[in-house]
């Protein structure tokens, strides 16, 4: 058996990694009507097995589209400056048909799995659930667990890939519009605009072994008090004393772009119906790119990786 030195090393080592990442999202409230989908799969088969799944879900505070609405009432005045006058009932009516007093927020997630077991014996179990309701901490909008054991006495292969993507973007908004907690950070009255994307997943191609993965994600909430989270975990091991033979990789990519709203002026008016005048100069304040791929080839005794993404003002 001819292997490269790297594969030899990989085969001898047990890879156990934990990754973490954090930035800021305000979550998005649920639509009036919500859906729940749950699936449970248990399969034992010898020969051929195939599982393909794809979930795509986009939700927005306004009509879905490429443009995110400014919070109402907002007047662009040029040079990147915006007049934002929340609370003024006349300006809200003048400028606000269909617009929310909260800046537009869009969340989009995609989950996909493709698994095939060929010329072998497979035990496959899967629990899948997605729920578009508001979720509090400790619960999820998307949750998937898989457990797979594959053996072959010939040239059989287990090939599986799994991807989780969470894309979020939002316009600036009044901080008080998004948070319930009175102790939320009040360093700025305005929650800045943001645009974040996180992608996690794994690919494996083995002739025998056991693998388990777990996926969970939360981004729908009635309040921004709970951080947006996305988690992916994979564990690949051999069966008995036999290591898994093949390749496995797991990755995480993040692009987090955080805005900063320069508050040039704040002028309160006497009556609550007259609102408060803000002159804002929003801009990009932080851009973070993160990419990471872990791979192992050869005889793999253990490959375990736990990835966590968390984004919120209160964490």
């Amino acid at each position: 058996m001819k292997k490269t030195s790297f594969i030899l090393v990989a085969g001898l080592l047990a890879l156990i990694m934990t990754m973490g990442f954090a930035c800021a999202d305000p979550s998005i409230p649920a639509t009036p009507e919500t859906q729940g989908i749950s699936i449970a799969i248990a399969a034992q088969a010898t020969g051929w097995f195939q599982e393909d799944q794809e979930v795509s879900w986009a939700t927005s505070t306004g009509p879905l589209g490429p443009a995110l609405g400014y919070p109402n009432p907002t007047i662009p005045v040029g040079d990147g400056l915006f007049i934002y006058w929340p609370g003024n009932v006349v300006l809200e009516e003048t400028l606000g048909i269909g617009n929310s007093s909260r800046g537009g927020v869009l969340y989009e997630t995609v989950y996909s799995e493709s698994t095939s077991g060929v010329a072998g014996t497979i035990d496959y179990a899967k629990q899948f659930a997605t729920d578009t309701e508001n979720k509090a901490q400790g619960t999820s909008n998307l949750e998937v667990q898989r457990g797979i054991v594959f053996t072959t006495d010939s040239v059989g292969r287990l090939v599986s890939s799994e991807n989780l993507v969470l894309d979020s973007a939002g316009q600036f908004s009044l901080l008080s519009e998004s948070f319930t907690c009175p102790f939320a950070p009040r360093v700025n009255e305005i929650l800045p605009q943001f645009c974040n994307r996180v992608e996690m997943g794994s690919d494996l191609d083995i002739s025998g072994g056991s693998v388990s993965t777990a996926v969970s994600e939360r981004f729908v909430s009635s309040t921004g008090d709970y951080p947006v989270t996305s988690d992916y975990r994979i564990r690949l091991a051999g069966i008995g004393d036999q290591p898994a033979d093949g390749s496995v990789s797991a990755f995480m990519e993040v692009q987090a772009r955080e805005g900063l709203v320069g508050m040039i002026a704040r002028i309160p008016f006497e009556d609550p119906d007259m609102g408060t005048f803000f002159l804002l100069n929003p801009g990009l304040a932080s851009e973070l790119r993160y990419g990471e791929l872990t791979s192992a080839y050869g005889e793999i005794t253990l490959f375990e990786k736990d990835m966590h993404y968390e984004s919120g003002v209160i964490r």
């Binding site: 006058w85 006349v90 400028l95 048909i97 704040r266 309160p268 119906d273």
Partner: protein
């Protein structure tokens, strides 16, 4: 006030503001029309952090916006506009802020089919911001307001409201700023208005000032069809620095008004103040039904002076002079029905005092001067073994005349919850027409403590009155009296005095006093006294009976004098001076 007076006053205000307005750099004009309305505005941004904005907006199918706007560009920031706007919903607003966060704004807003004509200006410079407007509003619901907020946290505002039909003519403005001079820092906000409201279903005007910890507000309101003509102002500020080697901080809030109003559903003018340490004071003139208030001048203030972060003096004060209040029976029974003028103060609910002039039914109160005060005084100095503390609540009034076809009263009350002492005095008539002429009365509750060479503490409540006359008018069923009562130890010791008439008559020239509490001397000798005492004196020759009574636990005494002139008293309590004397006694000297 009428509109003709408001306009020149407003122009003067704007002229003052314009003179203060200085320059700016970049200007932006913006406008837009949507399916629902139109907005037009201008914005100035100075290179020193000043910003000024003016905007006019209107909604509705037939809205109209006609405006001349200008943003300044000569060294700070200023914006101004002269606007006529109408529509279902209309708003005209102008504001300015400087880099320190000192902001000033004015606005006028109407809904339900409204029209506004307004001239507004706002300007900001390095040390402050100022805004003013002259506005005339016609609308179903309408509001005009001004607001000044200093970057240090002082706030002053005025507002004028109209509900369900009518018009507002107003000149108002606000300013806020902060300056440093000779090692001291002064920050303040002020607002004022001259307003006239003609309401079909009610309206109000108020002014508010908020210091860091103290608040003061004054306002006037009418219910139903009515009018308010008011001149109001509010100011809040804070001065901090060094007094020799002593760091000090003095701050407070003050609000005042001169108002006349009339309506067919009741009305009131009020002032209130509170400091951050639990001292509150209030004063109010009001009436039910169809009536009026003719010229009430009133105000309230609260604040404190601290040295080394220790409060030296603090309190809240409310005062009023009201020329005349006329009231009538209300359709809905409230606490009062008729006409009233009240003042009250409380010091952390430990000491409270109030004074009231009240004419039931169809009644009138004329020329009442009232005040209420709650205060704390702490005089001490580190290294000096002597101190004086005085804390309490006080209320007093002089009222020239209370007249009614049903009944009327002038009363004063003090409650000391620390020592369980109360004192109460009243001049009263009921069951028919009558009047009270020239009553002077007051009440106080509190504690005074002295330590050092002498150790003395006085803790209690006192009330007293001198009333020129209580008499019936056009009624043979009217009864009237003057009554004063004092109690201590939650009523264990009590004493009262009474004189009056039944089914017609009068009481002339009565002086009454009541006190309950305790006095303790600890240095250089030890002696104490506690209890209640009441006394009265009538100098006139009349057939009014004089009655007094004293009660100490299960002991009591009673005295009756059939006519005046006479001096009469009642005493109940305990004196401790190595031994104790206790009991109750009532007596008189014809």
């Amino acid at each position: 006030m009428n509109g003709k007076r408001a306009v020149p006053a407003g122009i003067l205000l704007l002229a003052c503001i314009f003179c203060c307005a200085v320059s700016t750099a970049d200007t932006y004009n913006f406008t837009g029309t949507t399916d629902t309305g139109t907005y037009i505005g201008t914005l100035a941004i100075g290179d020193d952090g000043t910003v000024a904005v003016a905007i006019a907006a209107a909604t509705g199918d037939t809205h109209l916006v006609a405006t001349t706007q200008n943003a300044g560009d000569t060294g700070g920031a200023s914006a101004m506009q002269s606007t006529a706007v109408s529509g279902d919903g209309v708003f005209v607003g102008t504001g300015a802020v400087n880099g320190n966060g000192d902001s000033a704004s004015v606005g006028a807003l109407g809904r339900g089919g409204a029209a506004i004509e307004s001239a507004q200006i706002a300007a900001s410079a390095g040390t402050g911001s100022v805004a003013g407007q002259v506005a005339s509003i016609i609308g179903q619901t309408a509001v005009a307001g001004s607001l000044g907020v200093s970057g240090a946290g002082d706030m002053a505002s005025t507002d004028t409201h109209l509900s369900n039909g009518g018009n507002i003519t107003t000149a108002q403005g606000a300013l806020a700023g902060e300056v440093d001079f000779i090692g001291m820092n002064a920050a303040a906000a002020a607002a004022g208005q001259i307003s006239e409201i003609n309401a079909l279903d009610g309206g109000w005007a108020s002014s508010t000032a908020v210091d860091r910890g103290s608040t003061a507000a004054t306002g006037a309101s009418v219910t139903g069809k009515g009018n308010i003509s008011t001149l109001q102002g509010a100011v809040a500020g804070d001065l901090a620095g060094m007094l020799g080697t002593h760091p000090f901080d003095a701050g407070g809030a003050l609000a005042a008004q001169l108002t006349s109003l009339d309506s067919d559903g009741g009305g009131a003018a009020w002032s209130t103040a509170a400091n951050g340490n639990g001292c509150e004071a209030n004063t109010e003139a009001g009436y039910s039904g169809t009536g009026y208030i003719d010229e009430t001048i009133q105000g309230a203030g609260a604040g404190g002076v601290s040295v080394f972060d220790n409060e030296l003096l603090g309190g809240a004060l409310a005062l009023q002079y009201t020329k005349e209040i006329k009231g009538s029976p209300a359709l809905i029974i409230d606490i009062y029905e008729g006409a009233w003028a009240t003042s009250s103060a409380t010091n952390n609910n430990r000491y409270s005092a109030a004074t009231v002039a009240y004419a039931e039914g169809n009644g009138t109160i004329q020329d009442t001067i009232q005040g209420a005060l709650a205060s704390d005084l702490n005089l001490f100095h580190p290294g000096i073994p002597a101190a004086l503390t005085a804390e309490g609540a006080y209320a007093a009034q002089h009222t020239d005349r209370i007249t009614s076809d049903i009944g009327g009263a002038a009363l004063s009350l003090a409650v000391n919850n620390e020592s369980g002492s109360t004192a109460f005095t009243t001049a009263r008539f009921l069951n028919g027409g009558g009047e009270i002429l020239s009553t002077n009365q007051g009440a106080a509750a509190g504690e005074i403590g002295v330590t050092g060479v002498v150790g003395v503490s006085v803790d209690g409540a006192v009330a007293g009155q001198y009333t020129q006359e209580i008499r019936n008018v056009s009624s043979s069923t009217t009864s009237g009296w003057a009554f004063t009562r004092a109690a201590h130890n939650n009523g264990e010791d009590r004493a009262w005095v009474l004189t009056g008439f039944r089914n017609g008559g009068s009481v002339d020239g009565v002086v009454q006093l009541g006190a309950g509490g305790d006095i303790m001397v600890t240095t250089p000798i030890s002696i104490g006294a506690e209890g209640a005492v009441a006394a009265q004196y009538i100098s006139s020759t009349a057939s009014n009976p004089l009655i007094s009574r004293a009660v100490h636990g299960t002991e009591s005494d009673f005295d009756f004098q059939p006519s005046s002139p006479a001096f009469q008293w009642a005493v109940a309590g305990t004196v401790t001076d190595g031994f104790s004397i206790e009991g109750a006694e009532a007596g008189s000297i014809p």
